[in-house]
Symmetry: C2
Subunit: 114 residues, 2 copies
C-alpha cells in the first residue's frame, strides 16, 4: 500500500512530469488520491484540474497523453515524480514540448525557441 500525504494541500499533491528519455522537466500538475490511483492502475497520467475542479486525464482532448514509465515518491511522501513518454511531443497547452520555456534573464524573461 502506498500512502501519500494528501493533507498538506487539501487533498492534493504536486506531480512533476519528466521526459523519461531526455530528463527534461515538462510540467507540474496536481493529483488527488483518485488520480494517483488511476495513474498507477492505467499507466497513463491522470491529474486533478484545479481550474476545472475535476479529474483530468492529460491529453484526453488533445491526444497528447502521457505514458508512465516510472513513478517515484519523495522522502516525505508529499510529491510525485512521473517519468513519462509524452505522446504528441507537447506537454504544454501552448503546443510546446515543456511548460518551462521561459527563462529568467537579466531581470526579464526570455522565451526559449524549440
Amino acid at each position: 500500500m502506498i500512502e501519500l500525504d494528501f493533507d498538506k494541500q487539501g487533498g492534493l499533491v504536486p506531480a512533476i512530469a519528466q521526459d523519461h528519455a531526455t530528463g527534461e522537466v515538462l510540467m507540474l500538475a496536481y493529483m488527488n488520491r483518485e488520480s494517483f490511483e488511476l495513474t498507477l492502475r492505467t499507466g497513463i497520467a491522470h491529474y486533478w484540474s484545479r481550474s476545472r475542479n475535476q479529474l483530468w486525464k492529460k491529453g484526453e482532448t488533445s491526444g497528447n497523453i502521457q505514458e508512465v514509465i516510472e513513478v517515484r515518491i519523495d522522502c516525505d511522501s508529499d510529491t510525485v515524480l512521473l517519468r513519462i513518454r509524452q505522446i504528441g511531443g507537447a506537454a504544454c497547452h501552448t503546443g510546446r514540448r515543456s511548460c518551462f520555456y521561459r527563462v529568467v534573464e537579466n531581470g526579464g524573461i526570455r522565451e526559449e525557441e524549440e
Copy 2:
C-alpha cells in the same frame, strides 16, 4: 519585472530543483515572494519552509547549498524550475542525492541504491 502567481497557494509557489548537469530532479520545495527574489538576487536557492514557517536558505546549516545556474517559469507563472549545482552532493535531508529515491513497483515501494 517578473510576476509569479502567488495567489493560488496562499502566497507560495512550488519550485523544482533539477541538477543542471545530469537533469536529475532533486527535490521540490516552496517559495514565497521574498525567497524567490532572494534566489534571483543571490544566485543561491532560498525557499519557504512550510514546517518551520520561515525563510529557508537551503543548506544554511548542512552546507549543502544550491548554486542556481538557471531559473525557469512555467506557462502560467505558478511554478519555478531551478537548474542548480548541488554543493555537497546531497539535496535530501536523508543524505541522498535526490529526495525521489523511492520507486513505486508492483504495488509497493523500492528504495533505490545510489
